[in-house]
Symmetry: C4
Subunit: 312 residues, 4 copies
């Protein structure tokens, strides 16, 4: 049985090497990230910081900002305290701690360029430190503006994948099928799909990669849903392989979607992967039924893409 | 009569499914939006907010900003009032309401980092709240900067479509024609057009989609106007169909234009659709007559693209 | 003599129509702008404003900003004056004009969120107006930030074109040649050129357009200079035409260059056009001689691309 | 021996001319910059400034900002001093120098829109100058915001190249090989490589360029590493050339990599070049061994791409 009919060159073109890890691995995680950790990269630099700030969750970013703001004010409050509270007018001298607190608030009023003026520097040293802090403040908020715009404008595809990948009847033969839909109200146009299988070869003990041909590779509008089908004909590398064999060989189905978000004319990418335990044999997707509303709008429920029915 | 000669595959590639809605529908609205409402999308998140803020009308955005600004100051004014007006210097104590108003204005002076200083916090609690508000203010205006830049820099094509789509003489045969022009003074280059017909099939009761071949698919400069022509030869899916039949089968002519705004080197998209009541038979477009001005400039009136003359 | 051998379809694909203007016109100006004025465009909107602000000269932008700033402060100064100078503390009451001036400066201190605090509102009406002005100020500077970033990041190609277009010996035949170079120190990569001739046809009295085939259509690095050559073989639409005939028929040579600025990975466009009076016959470009400096740098003088020598 | 079998046209398409510099030169530096200096470019303008500000090192940018900030405050401090210290309230009059210092700090408080208010203008002249300075301040920080966002969002590929380029056994023949890896944790997708050799031709004394065919030209994920191989078959322009001959003819191997950073959907470019002293003959790269961690992550050490072993 000649399972692997595809060109071996495909293997190298994906870029995941040919190592057999001797245990079950996945190359792409369910969240679309590539499951590879590169070491020896050298130090964390500004670009890494920017990548982190633009891709971290909103909650973590908020905590990061609040901690940074407090920390910077503690540092500048400390510097002003070292310069001496007597270099400032309006400081509350009731205790040493209260003096520090006054200078901490003075720092906050300076870094935000608020400057009420009931607290103000009266010596040259204090004025210089405050002038430096206000410059730092403006630059920090310039950075914050850049990061916030970077977060907003970051190209993202919000694609919903069916929970399962089915082996369903497809004309005379069978087909490997999954469905996708757009989770957002904006439009994704010119969507393209690519499906690759990664599998252990029991003969040479290497990990091999096969591109799986698709019935339709692209779609103009991802308006309703898209059922992506690999026909399992005798040219297919999975022709004759059972779900059990796919599991034994630790197969992984890697999906790459490329589309254009036409609101911002941005090319967006989405990745996903199915492992053998996501396969359902002898089932077919229940058709999605869009309906026309009273006001002439076509309405569809995207979460229905997960539904399938057994085929008897 | 074999009406539907095109490849059936086209139907699936457009992404609007094959459902017959049993009443008249349109897939693309006159304003270019896709007439599909997706449900079950999950919560409204930051990205949705950004999409909304960048694509909403200027008037609505202004109202949104003014209400938000007032609301935030009411909230912070309330917080300061709960902390106690005696924690602030400069507050007008003539009445409880006047105290609140003073603190409302103090909030506005804090969130904008204006900080006149005739109103200022004198306790640690009040100073802390003000420090937090000024941080919030700066971050909000960072967001506003991002949104405003996003609105300005959003890729947009301002294409004017002729009010009608004509069935006009075209050489020996007839052609389906409409005209477009650029509504703006900046240039659109490398424009491409795509014309698809969506129509009910009375035999199988499905909605079908046909790509209509164009005489010229792209144009270097959309400098004057562009008459887009589908020749109705015997290869055409509308060959032999009258306007009345197109109406009975609820036809829709879907137009996709893709171009480059060369000021910002952005790819821009425009969509439009004609329904059978937009068709005019036996008419042809009146030629657009550009003229050379005294100063050597070529001048054209773009709204003339709507004009047509009956053909006897 | 069959001059016009090219496909007539080319004419329509450029998008400049086929009108003969009966006097000398040019479609593309020396500065690369398209010489077409579209009328009936409808009102000037935000997008037009953004286009104007990002493409206007620095001097004009400065004047625009200074006038706007003064005007807004005059307006708000006027509003404060109408509310009444007694609603503000710190106003100089020496004369009515001086009162207005104080309020004008108060406006400037408010819109910039400077807020020294020696001038401040003491009534609710004055505080409300000031709160509105400071919001307006922040939004205006958000817009300014967007415009300034838009100006900086706008894709631009700074290409230098040789002053003349030559008809020079090219192997056994002649060639139409011009040279370009990059005026900036950053790199332009993957440059592509397109050359079109626009010419009156004396037979049918129409303006026709011909794409002129190029010896090399693209270049990896525009590091030194690029001589773009159209070989005048018997396939060429200008084969057998003298410079005098080109002038009589009001020819124009339209040039489109497309390249990538790799610092910002932006696709940039440049346009230029030569008219018959720019043609020099029987001349060839003097070779550009780059030299290796002491420090191993290759140095070239880009303005040398204008030089040519007569061919005897 | 016919060394140079490739099409001569390649030479002109790279854009580095055919000049023989009579001494060893390189066209691309190790840091990827093009080793060409263009003169006669005309003045340094805003775009050049923006390019400089976005690509200069962080340290240099900080020094530039601090010096500019100090300089602007010295200038405005000087202007205020010329207007006269008596036009301001709150100035320390203990000495002429102290007066200037007070006005220098007043300038800093004005340009940052801090405005404590213990120092404030009391004449119209002083108020006007301060109003102008605060406008300048806001515009400067708008520019700073643009520059900072430009720095962050600038498309950059951080590709690690193996220190050496090897002539290693490749099947029956030999191959010219080097390895690359992604230095960052984000993903580079759709990577493409191009390898060109620049070499002196001893016959015609010109510099010639040859595109070297690659075994695989593109890779989907640069997840682990990529060994780029030029098979030295009898079609190769380096077939039969020894390392010594390559050195005598001052060969240079120019590498262009193009990829997509999928976090920002940006096309990024990387360049590198090897000279003959980087060649190692009869050696092959030691295979990179990624391993699966306990938590199922695939881990690879990217700096291992430099390692190679002698072939006996």
């Amino acid at each position: 049985m000649a399972i692997f009919r595809n060109n071996k060159k495909d293997e190298r073109e994906l870029g995941f090497g040919s190592q057999n890890y001797r245990k079950s691995v996945r190359f792409i995680n369910k969240d679309g990230s590539v499951n590879v950790q590169r070491r020896g990269l050298g130090g964390f630099n500004n670009l890494d910081l920017y990548h982190w700030l633009t891709s971290v969750s909103g909650t973590r970013l908020s905590v990061f900002i609040i901690i940074s703001y407090t920390l910077v004010n503690l540092i500048f409050g400390g510097i002003y305290y070292l310069i001496g509270a007597e270099h400032f007018d309006g400081v509350n001298h009731s205790s040493e701690f209260q003096k520090f607190l006054s200078l901490f608030f003075f720092s906050a009023q300076t870094i935000t360029t608020l400057g009420y003026g009931h607290l103000f520097p009266i010596s040259n040293a204090a004025s210089s430190a405050a002038a430096a802090e206000s410059l730092l403040g403006l630059l920090s908020f310039a950075i914050a503006t850049g990061v916030i715009f970077g977060r907003f404008s970051r190209p993202q595809a919000h694609i919903l994948y069916s929970k399962n990948i089915l082996i369903a009847p497809y004309g005379e033969i069978k087909g490997l099928m999954f469905r996708i839909s757009n989770k957002k109200q904006y439009e994704l146009i010119e969507s393209e799909a690519n499906l690759t299988m990664s599998i252990n070869n029991p003969v040479n003990n290497k990990r091999e990669f096969f591109n799986l041909a698709l019935e339709i590779k692209s779609i103009n509008f991802l308006a309703l849903s898209w059922t992506i089908v690999h026909p399992i004909n005798d040219q297919s590398p999975i022709f004759g392989l059972s779900a059990k064999e796919l599991e034994e060989r630790d197969a992984e189905f890697l999906i790459l979607i490329k589309a254009i978000n036409d609101t911002f004319s941005q090319t967006v990418y989405s990745r996903y992967s199915y492992k053998p335990n996501d396969i359902v044999e002898n089932a077919k997707f229940r058709p999605l039924v869009p309906e026309a509303t009273e006001r002439g709008k076509i309405r569809v429920s995207v979460t229905d893409i997960h539904h399938f029915d057994a085929v008897v």
